[in-house]
Amino acid sequence: MSVLVLAEHDNTGLKDATLAAVTAASKLGGDVHVLVAGQGAQAAADAAAKVEGVAKVLLADDASLANGLAENLAPLLVDLMAGYDALVAPATSFGKNVAPRVAALLDVAQISDITAVEGPDTFQRPIYAGNAIATVQSSDAKKVITVRATAFPKANAAGGSAAVEAVAGKGDAGLSRFVGAELSKSDRPELTSAKIVVSGGRALGSADAFKTVIEPLADKLGAAIGASRAAVDAGYMPNDYQVGQTGKIVAPELYIAAGISGAIQHLAGMKDSKVIVAINKDEEAPIFQVADFGLVADLFQAVPEMTSKL
């Protein structure tokens, strides 16, 4: 058995989700190799080589791979998969975009967003917004898997000494062009890997309230900021802050939900947090059913008070 992990990286280093994918890959048994595809990604490949448990790093450095376009990346992965039994990718927007394209070209079913490895062909994955856990067994000769990063510990980023081997890209498939990106700038910890997350919902009422009420508490705690879909739809926060079934899945040590009612779709994104705190005026809000500590109070008073007392 040998496993290829598709690395998500920013050219200089690996994203945390990749380290979680390496942990999941090593549970499959056999050699774990990592593919770093991109342009000018030598540093990311060097970082991958140092990850504990990685036996070899493949570096595909080509202009056509610069922006992670699935149309250019999939043919390369399909070629490489001739030598592997499984492909493991992080279940991030990058991994979710590429992996199913590869699976279809290999004519295998993909197992999405796994939360546990029970054997080389048996996995657990949440369905129905996390309200049920399915244990599935794959009958395909090759497995294509995406990994929920919060369900696996990050592989040690040091201690490995794998060789880096260059592989050639397959060139531009001529189907798609990268036009540009508008990325949210933030000095805060990344939402999906933060130890503490402070999230706001519709009750904040404005983008300003996020700045004056939520941000100071997040700053005090060194926390990442999250938001419910209602807050995002209302334009209080950009959509990459959304926590939930269709946004980010987080599992921090501490999740503080302020002014969030706790719809099924939101809970799907945060109910594996270690400690959940709910601050809400409505004592009937469903969020209190999953909160370890609930405070029935007006968030505009309680959150600033909490900030000042920490």
């Binding site: 979710k96 199913p100 699976a103 856990i133 399915a134 244990t135 067994q137 001529g174 189907l175």
Partner: protein, 249 residues
């Protein structure tokens, strides 16, 4: 251009599903079913393209049991022109759905396929990407903006760090994210009108596609329950508790 929109009948998004005691699945008897929310967004986008004069015909297709006709009728009431039902019993996996849709695309020759990014029952997020792969077309996943131009479609995608824009050669597959649009409600006259729009009935065998599952569900269980929490009376008490459990220093 012709636009093809695949739609799926799923448990309504507001239903809290229950796992069956025998762990074979979730309870679907007497549960409210609806069109997958992301597919509603896909239908809405296709209908808007038609209203703008970009799309000439909107064809909706669903794969599933006979009752999926209701889902197709909903799409027709929203403004789609005609439907195709591919009748299949039991769950059909994304790969098989993609194979069937690829055959439909071969017959219908759409320039654009717009579909939801994931179904809220199996949460797979695979079918659009698989379909694009099988057709050898470009894919614009998690779209929050779709702008067709000459021979191309520009798609703004919701990615983890923000937004990114790609230009795809047509024909292409686009999967919808939540913020692409606000789907309309079908009006009563349109619901009536939809009843006379045609729905063709097919079977997987008509397309020569084997829909045998590749994955066996060994069991379906409830997620671990969280221990009941407590309500605190003040911010001071809350901070005290959080320090006690070591959640904050």
């Amino acid at each position: 251009m012709k636009v093809l929109v695949p739609v799926k009948r799923v448990v309504d998004a507001n239903v809290k599903v229950r796992v069956k005691p025998d762990q074979t699945g979730v309870e679907l008897a007497n549960v409210k079913m609806s069109m997958n929310p992301f597919d509603e967004i896909a239908v809405e986008e296709a209908v808007r393209l038609k209203e703008k004069g970009v799309a000439t015909e909107v064809v909706v297709v669903s794969i599933g049991e006979q009752k999926s006709t209701e889902t197709l009728r909903t799409a027709l009431a929203m403004g789609a022109d005609r439907g195709i039902l591919i009748k299949a019993e039991g769950a059909v996996e994304p790969l098989a759905v993609a194979k069937l849709l690829a055959k439909v695309a071969g017959e219908e020759q759409p320039q654009l396929i717009v579909m939801g990014k994931q179904a809220i029952d199996d949460d797979s997020n695979q079918t659009g990407q698989m379909l694009a792969a099988l057709l050898g077309w470009a894919q614009g996943t998690f779209a929050s903006k779709v702008e067709p131009a000459e021979g191309e479609v520009s798609v703004t995608r919701e990615v983890d760090g923000g937004l990114e824009t790609v230009a795809l050669k047509l024909p292409a597959v686009v999967t919808t994210d939540l913020r692409l649009n606000e789907p309309r409600y079908a009006s009563l006259p349109n619901i009536m009108k939809a009843k006379s729009k045609p729905i063709a009935e097919k079977s997987p065998a008509d397309y020569g596609v084997d829909v045998t599952p590749r994955l066996t569900t060994l069991k379906v269980t409830e997620p671990p329950k969280r221990q009941a929490g407590i309500k605190v009376g003040s911010v001071d008490e809350l901070i005290g508790k959080l320090k006690e459990v070591g959640a904050i220093a």
